[in-house]
């Protein structure tokens, strides 16, 4: 269902830009360059915004963006049906093997970053936690704020629904501390809220609550928790600089993959994605822009 909606969005974006350019089409017929772009649902809005901005500046280029998930995008790249695959995870070793069997050498580019902020009510005196403490809170080992230096209040755990990619990322990176054979699960009484808005609403009015959400979605009036990897480590707040120097532990890179070193229009497009103009769009959409080296 979601992919249908995204496809429609992509078509809309496509047709809108198609309308502008019909006027110059009459005067001088141009050869269009088509770029096929597919993959991660997390990134699809970002990819659409990029494509729209780029096509406005380069009317001879047509970029079609579809979602479907990181795996779908990479599979399409390996089969040679798309030029650029978006992925919110790194390519897996078996996918690289399959690519090589097809005679394709996937090339990776980090195009943006996504930080997950841990949020609490502004009156909650707790302002820092270690990854282990957050894991213990969400798995149900810690049930009272006094155990982590707060008031004597029960902890109400808030999470996104299980179909959210953020839920899965949080499970793997925080609850299971990134360990492959760790089988920790969310505590059964974790509230699974269907939207970011639901989490933010509950945290805003409930001093017992703890929640997590993409940094770009967190409003000013909530308190963001500083997180340390270990007890002796430094407690770090999520922001553009700490995500970029990798001191904030709950952040992931967002990638695009191309088949072989990009050339021609694809190379121009990827260069533009790494420009400060494209990275401003990243920040506008609530993701963390990567460092841009403007020569």
């Amino acid at each position: 269902m979601k992919s249908v909606r995204l496809l429609l969005l992509a078509l809309l974006a496509f047709s809108l830009t198609a309308c502008d350019s019909t006027s110059n089409l009459g005067s001088e017929p141009q050869a269009f360059v088509y770029i096929e772009n597919k993959g991660s649902d997390t990134m699809v809005n970002l990819a659409l915004a990029w494509a729209e901005a780029y096509q406005n500046a380069h009317p001879e280029v047509r970029i079609s963006v579809t979602g479907g998930g990181s795996g779908t995008g990479i599979a399409a790249l390996l089969n040679g049906t798309v030029d650029i695959a978006n992925a919110s995870r790194k390519i897996k070793p078996e996918e690289v093997e399959q690519a090589q069997a097809n005679g394709i050498e996937p090339v990776e580019f980090v195009v943006a970053r996504d930080a997950i902020a841990i949020i609490v009510h502004p009156d909650n005196p707790v302002d820092r936690l270690t990854l282990q403490q957050i894991s213990d809170i969400y798995s149900g080992k810690i049930n009272n704020w006094s155990e982590v230096g707060g008031e004597d209040r029960p902890i109400v755990r808030l999470s996104r629904e299980t179909n959210s990619g953020t839920h899965v990322y949080f499970l793997e990176t925080v609850l299971r501390l990134g360990e492959k054979d760790n089988k920790t699960l969310f505590s059964m009484d974790t509230l699974l809220l269907p939207s970011s808005e639901g989490i933010i609403n509950e945290v805003r009015q409930n001093p017992n609550a703890i929640g997590y959400d993409g940094l770009g979605y967190v409003p000013q009036d909530l308190k963001i928790i500083a997180v340390a990897k270990t007890e002796s480590g430094r407690y770090v707040l999520p922001m553009i600089s700490t995500v970029n120097d990798k001191t904030y532990p709950i952040a992931r890179d967002l990638y695009v993959y191309t088949a072989g070193q990009p050339e021609g229009a694809i190379k121009d497009y990827l260069d533009w994605i790494h420009s400060s103009e494209a990275q401003e769009i990243v920040a506008e959409l609530g993701f963390v822009p990567i460092l841009v080296y403007n020569p």
Binding site: K2, T162, L185, L191, L192, L193, G198, N206
Partner: protein, 298 residues
Amino acid sequence: MNSKQNWQEFFIPRLIKACGYSAIVFVALIFFFLLREGLPTLVEVPLKALLDPRWYPIEEHFGILPLISGSLLVTVGAMLVAMPFGIGTAVFISEIAPRWVREILKPLIELLGGLPSVMLGFLGILVLAPFLRVFLNLPTGLTALAGSLLLGAIAVPTVVSIAEDALDAVPRGYREGAWALGATKWQTIWRVTLPAAKSGVLTAVMLGIGRSIGETMTVMMVTGNAPVLAVKLNSIFSPVRTMTATIAAEMGEVASGSVHYRVLFFIGIVLFLISLIVNISASAVIFRSKKRAERILS
């Protein structure tokens, strides 16, 4: 002209007949589709896994008991709210209220019935849940109780309008007879009018149950959606996850044909069976009382 009329005479009754039968066809098709998509669950997932106390489908925990208990708890709570309120309101409108009050109250209650449930959900998140948390000193207001109160409010209009019709249908002679025997207004209502309208009032309650167990949006927004097995007495004060909210939240993203997809359809079958049982018992009550009425008349 004449031939055109003949043509109409031939065509239109058949069209109307097709419309009538289409309802049956649609119900049958829906049920068939549910069975086709959901029944393979019983083969793919061992029964023991379905009775698992945990619902966490992305890690192959397919325990549906927490979801069933959540739905039942919220529905029972909703009926505890909707029954006294709904029947009380119906009695007031039909027996006590002066004409002009009735004229205002009835459309107002119908308006309440037309409120989109997502709006009540918003009200629940922004007003009711914070109020319940502070008032009852709970860890969170997103609980089965919040769901029950809102679902009760959703079911009240259904209960009121059907129960009021039933009370209205009680012949005036019954009440006049009771008054003539010296019964007070309350005695007349409690001992004569309500028992006479019993079957209609029961139908009202049954349809209210059907309305609340199938409601999705409101419960998804206010019950917290934590799949905890609700068996303790104080479960009403903790978050629950209902069958409807589970289907609504997870169906959009699930891979078609996967085990998770099948289990969601299986939950749909369970939900369908529960509403079927409620509806059948409602019609059984009506049927029995009809037969009784026929016996008296003959």
